[in-house]
Symmetry: C2
Subunit: 520 residues, 2 copies
């Protein structure tokens, strides 16, 4: 037996080593005016490895990157691990005050930043202190390019596939942010799963609508490369621009939260596409109205579910050919389910407070729990939080859901978003889905308002489609006609919804507003 | 850090655990009249695990299976590892005398055999001695079914993913057979690669034309299950029956050596298919004539390359969209190349006798060498052969080829099949390809004949298409018009080609015949 020949550490950087050879002369990256072939991308990433070594980054050192979805942030997903270092991709929508806490917590000694974020980068450096080496990037004249030019291509071999690859800080609406530790092995397997589940191949063109700093772009930063497909970068999400790419750039795949899809679906430029485009969505279940609209537009929606702690989408609503013959409404009902573990995931469970499986009856609520190779190592330098999240070898997601008899799960609510009215549980998601079925409603968020009689009652915050009109009373009446009366919102407030830096609706802000309403 | 939650041993049996839940009620296996859903397949395999435990098979014990491509052989790919045992899938085309040597060498204590192979099984048992427990299988009344019925579903967890999963004996035209040891990790990754590279998904129907006893069916035994596709079993390859399935059973995928494709391509029932069918071929490069014919029939051919020692196809001729716009002849030339490492393979090399890379110029001949997670552990109880095959951490394939500047390799010949004429190398494959371009030729095999002047000269053995006619002189003249004169065959002999038990052409038999020709 010669173990040397048959064991190679699993690392997602190996996909670039392969595509850099196999697809050497083919397009890897398009970022505005800049185009890189796979050979060029590989060369640049190896030079980044060399450049970080030249900057004195040791094995296991942390390198933070603050950038939109550009080639720089993509390259850091390879160049930083090539240097043997750990990638900390920062959420560029956070203020410098939050980011400096994250950078300090991670112990990063280098911060690569996009030239448009110069002020934020300088603020972070000032708050963190003198040890942080800043590297400006994004344009040909920025230092990043000269560092690459002056470095030799270099990489450190990965010896421990369970070693630390990246730290992804959760957006954490409250409390201090937690650094989710990704390992090479998990990212490798998750990237393969994403490639396979979304049918990426070497003729695909992937549009970067999903931030790469979200779970390393759900591991598509590596999966798109594994397929040898094109990374089409996008500095900023803009629905009109995305429609331009969908029409003119032969885009075959993109990802985004339902919020993003909503912005696209009812955009003035929205029009049926001549070829099939696949979009993977997660973060919230797509509503039937949205799925119907996307289907009209020729966009095939796959519903995924996961957490930062699970390398992004560990769960997929696996679609069966026979389901495509159902009505759109029936399809939407199936597609609203989060689904089953993806092809590399281990078993998915819905457990009670004692950690026992709830019956798979589609109604008994429990917490969704996961384990397997695409679960994090733990939270960086936070043993207590790690133990709380993984009390018994199963990661608790904090999401409440049910298990169906066919093994598919459906999320009912975040544990903290459930509304308890007269002793009955109301899933805010259920009320939101009902409201979104109204033709005038574009998006809805429902939260609890304290009530002297019922304990809590649901209150809805609603954004209408452009040009559409409906009154509060009409919408309440609509909801009461569709569902149990106690679940229908007692009040409806129209307007834009508050979002956090990652685009998620901030329900704690809405709860404050609901409290204000009580006082009025 | 809680390692328990984020590390799960990689094993291809996990794909059945998943598909048994996710696709529980969907069709997993069709074997003549018998249909099993994925839940049933999982249950049967777990019962096989329990049954083998009941028979006293210990952890690490070997279980041999002698069967055509039936559900029994498929089930053994899960049930045997569920029992913690090691699968030895026997080549049913070998005589009992060879098989008894293999069974004895493997130390198998149980032999599951198909009822049609009763005599062979009894002969093996007689030659191996009394310790071998025979289990007849294949029909409802056979013992295998009662063992399953009376066993509890059971499995032993895989603790070491680099542990032994199966032993695949090479057909070895000469010398004693060697037992190639597969590990769980390699089979898991190779199965994922096969699924991805051939675009299998849960709506695919895979026809089992490739023997499952070849490299565990190139790991498609596990890969088809990973995709949740249908295993359509086939007791015996019969071109007419395969055409019936292609027309009537919605088959989307199958695999086979070019020999198998040749039998299909010019079969009287061959007709263009209404939907795309993918076939993966390996063992020899498909000729341009064959590729052109398959294209007419609506069958998309992927060219793969590998050895028993590499879990089957570690190499794939990755196809790029833009190549589909070339002429069929140009496409065939590209597709004749073996290609590049597949998505889970490590780098592929072509090395000289000192183990150094030859220049990637498309002409310098060297030996193809491989390493990575889809390389065997070694040969079972044969340290010397293992060391010879893997002298320096790189598996030597025994195949001679060239490396092109784009990183694709092309096989020129087996090291032992090269013909040296007047000091010049003649690749037998090149001569064969030239002859196959003649419209009357179905298949050709070229070997060396000793010659007093040139040392060796090429002699061709040719099978003509049904109803086609060409003379020896015409064919020699045709070859001389196409290639360097010294490469053209000096003689052509018409007739059927001798094959070994795995269907490969036996060139050593042809060399004997060529020697006979010299004496006449």
């Amino acid at each position: 037996m010669n173990e040397a020949a048959c064991f190679e550490a699993l690392t997602p950087t190996s996909f670039l080593l392969r595509s850099g050879r196999v697809y050497a002369d083919r397009c890897a990256v398009i970022d505005d005016e800049r185009h890189f072939s796979y050979a060029e991308l590989l060369d640049r990433c190896l030079r980044l490895g060399g450049a970080l070594r030249n900057l004195g980054v040791p094995e296991g050192g942390r390198v933070a990157v603050l950038a939109p979805n550009t080639h720089v942030l993509l390259e850091s997903h390879y160049g930083v691990p090539f240097a043997g270092a750990v990638l900390v991709a920062l959420n560029m929508r956070l203020p410098a005050s939050d980011l400096s806490l994250i950078v300090a917590h991670s112990g990063a000694q280098v911060l690569i930043y996009d030239y448009e974020l110069e002020r934020t980068a300088r603020d972070i450096a000032a708050q963190v202190g003198g040890a942080l080496r800043l590297v400006r990037a994004g344009r040909p004249e920025d230092e990043y390019e000269s560092l690459l030019r002056n470095a030799d291509p270099w990489r450190r071999a990965v010896t421990d596939e369970c070693g630390l690859l990246s730290i992804n800080y959760t957006s954490g609406t409250t409390g201090k942010p937690k650094g989710v530790m990704y390992h090479h092995r998990g990212a490798y397997l998750q990237a393969l799963a994403m490639t396979m589940e979304t049918r990426l191949d070497c003729d695909s063109i992937f549009l970067w609508t999903l931030p790469m700093f979200h779970c390393n772009g759900w591991c598509f930063t590596w999966g798109v490369t594994a397929a040898g497909a094109v990374h089409r970068c996008l500095r900023k999400f803009d629905a009109g621009l995305v429609w331009k790419h969908l029409r003119n750039s032969n885009v075959t795949h993109f990802n985004g939260a339902p919020t993003v899809l909503i912005m696209l679906a009812w955009h003035p430029d929205a029009a049926r596409l001549p070829r099939a485009v696949r979009v993977a969505t997660g973060g919230a279940p797509p509503t039937p109205a949205l799925l119907e609209r996307m289907s009209e537009l020729g966009i095939n929606v796959t519903h995924l579910y996961g957490l930062t702690e699970t390398f992004g989408p560990a769960v997929i609503c696996e679609w069966r050919g026979e389901w495509s013959e159902l009505t759109i409404a029936e399809q939407a009902q199936i597609k609203a389910r989060q689904g089953v573990g993806n092809v590399v995931s281990q078993q998915l469970r819905v457990v009670d407070l004692q950690g026992n499986d709830v019956p798979p009856d589609g109604t008994t609520l429990g917490e969704i729990a996961l384990r397997g190779n695409n679960v994090m190592l733990g939270y960086y330098q936070d043993e207590i939080a790690t133990r709380n999240a993984i009390p018994d070898g199963w990661l608790r997601t904090g999401d409440l859901g049910v298990m169906y008899s066919d093994g598919y799960i459906e999320l009912k609510d975040r544990a903290k978003d459930i509304i308890i009215s007269g002793g009955e549980n109301i899933a805010s998601i259920e009320v939101e889905r009902t409201l979104c079925a109204h033709p005038a409603v574009m998006e809805a968020a429902v939260v609890a308002q304290s009530d002297p009689v019922w304990g809590e009652v649901p209150v809805a915050f609603v954004t209408l489609k452009a040009g559409a009109g409906v009154t509060e009373d009409e919408l309440v009446a609509y909801a009461r006609a569709q569902m149990a009366h106690f679940k229908a919102p007692k009040r409806v407030v129209f307007g834009d919804l508050p979002r956090n830096a990652t685009g998620k609706i901030q329900k704690f802000v809405l709860r404050d507003r609901a409290r204000e309403l009580n006082r009025k």
